[in-house]
């Protein structure tokens, strides 16, 4: 009995092209797309060498300290901040600025001044450099005027070199990365697409929607047992799809999921159960046609996945900060958060909390499905 339903269900699932596309090919295509498009996104925030022009006028040449300070940060090497271009006049610098060849230029009158075209981080860093130079210079002048002997304590390089008072510590063994969350949300989406398996299992029980449903209703065994075996078959196929997608993301695309392999597998299993249960519940709760049910499943999963950060990384965090309840009732957010915990946290408390809530969701949805299916009778079709 069990093996009959189970094996036939697996066969029929493998033959359903639509389902294979949504749970298998679609995620693999999207994952490949992500890896192409997001490959360099973590580098986007890195500090690049800033293109700056300096108007090489008399005032600049005479300002020896400033000359030296600017040379210091423009030396090629690991600490290079600026790439300097010397121009003879402001109008030449204007042309460079207008064409976007430089982020800004420095012109020394009495003090160094900065000319830019737009607001931005590079421009802010340029201003910050000029501020620092001038501030240190005025501190030294201030100290010298109050206490001329103090100048003996000050090294000549004080104006140019700023001591570092900070050291970097890391909060986690893995680096923060904007890329991985897209893949976590994508896997959450695949988990929720288990709903298509739930949909066909319950559809096989609804006599008004499928001929298999009519056949099954006539069978002299407990309906709940048929649906459970059927769901188990669907779940097995879906889990296989999920593992293929996971394997592709980890081994082919090389995305880091941390090193807690067993828990990653556990998350996939629970996520998949939640997906299947969600589909079963939606199908059992409505009497519309299969197309409408499919559309509802796609829409609900898309909204959940959007809120889990599939399209914009970090939206899940913004939601969790502002409307926490929305994060706790969204299975996609919980699944992707569970992956995040495995990647970034050292302890597993929040991971188990996520998994716990997911299990409760699955149980509630499966119970709901059972209750709804129990009441469905077809006097005439």
């Amino acid at each position: 009995m069990f093996s009959n339903i189970f094996i036939n269900r697996i066969k029929s699932s493998i033959r359903a092209k639509d389902m294979i596309f949504w749970t298998w090919i679609f995620p693999i295509l999207i994952a490949t797309l992500f890896s192409f498009a997001l490959g360099d996104i973590d580098k986007a925030e890195q500090l690049d060498i800033i293109n700056v022009a300096v108007v090489d006028n008399n005032a600049y040449r005479q300002n020896e300290y400033f000359n030296k300070a600017l040379d210091e940060v423009s030396k090629s090497g690991d600490n290079q901040l600026f790439s300097l271009t010397y121009v003879s006049s402001a109008s030449q610098a204007d042309t460079l600025l207008e064409n976007g060849d430089i982020d800004g230029y420095i012109i020394v009158d009495k003090q160094p001044e900065l000319i830019v075209k737009e607001n931005g981080l590079n421009q802010t860093i340029m201003k910050n450099f000029l501020d620092s130079y001038q501030q240190t210079y005025s501190s030294i002048m201030n100290i010298a005027s109050n206490n001329p002997q103090a100048l003996n304590h000050i090294s000549v390089n004080s104006v140019n070199e700023i001591e570092s008072f900070t050291e970097e510590i890391s909060l986690s063994s893995n680096k923060p990365s904007a890329t991985v969350t897209y893949f976590y949300a994508l896997l959450a989406m695949v988990c929720l697409y288990g709903a298509f398996q739930g949909l066909s299992s319950v559809l096989h029980m609804q006599s008004n929607l499928s001929s298999v449903g009519i056949r099954n209703s006539l069978a002299p065994i407990n309906k709940l047992r048929i649906v459970l075996y059927d769901l188990f078959g669907g779940f097995t196929v879906h889990l296989a799809c999920l593992f293929i997608v996971l394997g592709y993301i980890i081994f082919v695309l090389g995305i880091d999921f941390g090193n807690k392999a067993l828990f990653i597998v556990l998350t996939c299993i629970i996520g998949s159960i939640v997906g299947v249960a969600m589909g079963a519940l939606i199908t059992a709760a409505t009497k519309w046609s299969e197309i409408v049910k499919t559309a509802i499943i796609i829409c609900i999963s898309m909204v959940f996945c959007f809120m889990a950060g599939l399209m914009i990384s970090g939206i899940n965090y913004i939601i969790a900060q502002n409307i926490p309840i929305l994060a706790w009732i969204n299975p996609a957010a919980l699944i992707s958060d569970a992956f995040y915990c495995l990647y970034f946290y050292d302890d597993l408390n929040r991971y188990f909390l996520d998994i716990g809530v997911l299990i409760i969701m699955a149980v509630v949805m499966l119970l709901g499905t059972a209750i709804l299916l129990r009441r469905q009778k077809y006097e005439s079709i």
């Binding site: 192409f36 997001l38 204007d94 001038q134 001591e163 946290y345």
Partner: protein, 402 residues
Amino acid sequence: MKVFSACLKITKRRATSIIIYLVLFLALSVLLTSISYNNETEQFNETNAKISIINRDTDSLLINGLIDYIKDHSEYIALNDNKQVLQDALFYHSVDYILFIPDGFTDSFHNNGDIKLQKTIVPDSAKGYYADNMINQYLSTAKLYYDTSLNMDEQTIIKNINNDLSYETQVTKKIFGDSAPIDQNFLVYYRMMGYILVVLIILGTSTIMLVFNRPDLRMRNICSPMKLRSINFQLSLSTGTLAFIFYLFLVIFGFAFYGSKLAGADIRIILLLMLNMFVYTIVSLSIGFICGIFIKGANTQNAAANFISLFLSFLGGVLVPLEFIGSNVVAAAHFIPTYWYVSALNKIGSLTNFTWQSLSPAFIDMLIQLGFAAAIFSVALVVSRSRRQSNLSFYGNKTEIA
């Protein structure tokens, strides 16, 4: 115009799903637009880093001075001293820099000890560098005063530090051209259209074509006294009208939402942006047309619309700006019409004068888009012709004409 009115009826029946998509994507674009950009202002504004401070040392004049200085020169984010809260905030870029002031730092600072401030940043980030510079600048100035002004009381020292650090370089912001630069949010909204127009137009066109490509209906229509050319013309007219309605709606929505920020902007730039989007509408229509030929059911329709639009927008620089995408991918993106839409958009957005020399690059990008549209339409026509004459269009029934 029987076919045309039939198309209208079909669109009306499916209006709900299209409206749901429209609302969802408009909300998405507004959301994306509002969180992604700081606006350009007439005066220069610093781009501040988001900094959080966890003070584990006792309060002292030095530390309070430092904290006040940081708060004045950054976007200060208050966070609890809880590891997971801090990890989350850094991971999701809610802060750029977390500064830990360890217990005993003040004493160590005064006595040349080796307790340092601790920081956690997104590795090698520019904002981390900027924040670090600010903190080091404050503390090195403080060190200079503490080391050299032995007779000065601490309050005066802090006052002097603040006084020195209040110096700001004069920054002039040059505006090239006569008009105010175009609002960044408005530009991002137009960039998002590279995604939304394609989804909507694929869904819209394929909804109509799906019905007319149904084998039984096809056979029925071929029997009718209406010429095939007339049927096809009306079909094209209706999908074109639908695409134009989407275009108009999105343009009007753009003005309704961002119109208030366009004061002073050059009307010619806005018109060029609209023209570019219109050209892209034609490209989207050609994509919708070719999809319509292959799509056979509602599921495939959703899948195709989602995948094709995401593919075009991720690689074409709509969802992720082109400068963040690897150079190899950008090279490949040249073969995608969306890339040229975004490229033209960026060129129009940074126009400062309207000489032929500065306008021509944007026009060339638009011409390339039209080239793509023409190519896709031709392929679609060839494919549709060959399919029309094959068994596929007739349920695989063997007929005399197939």
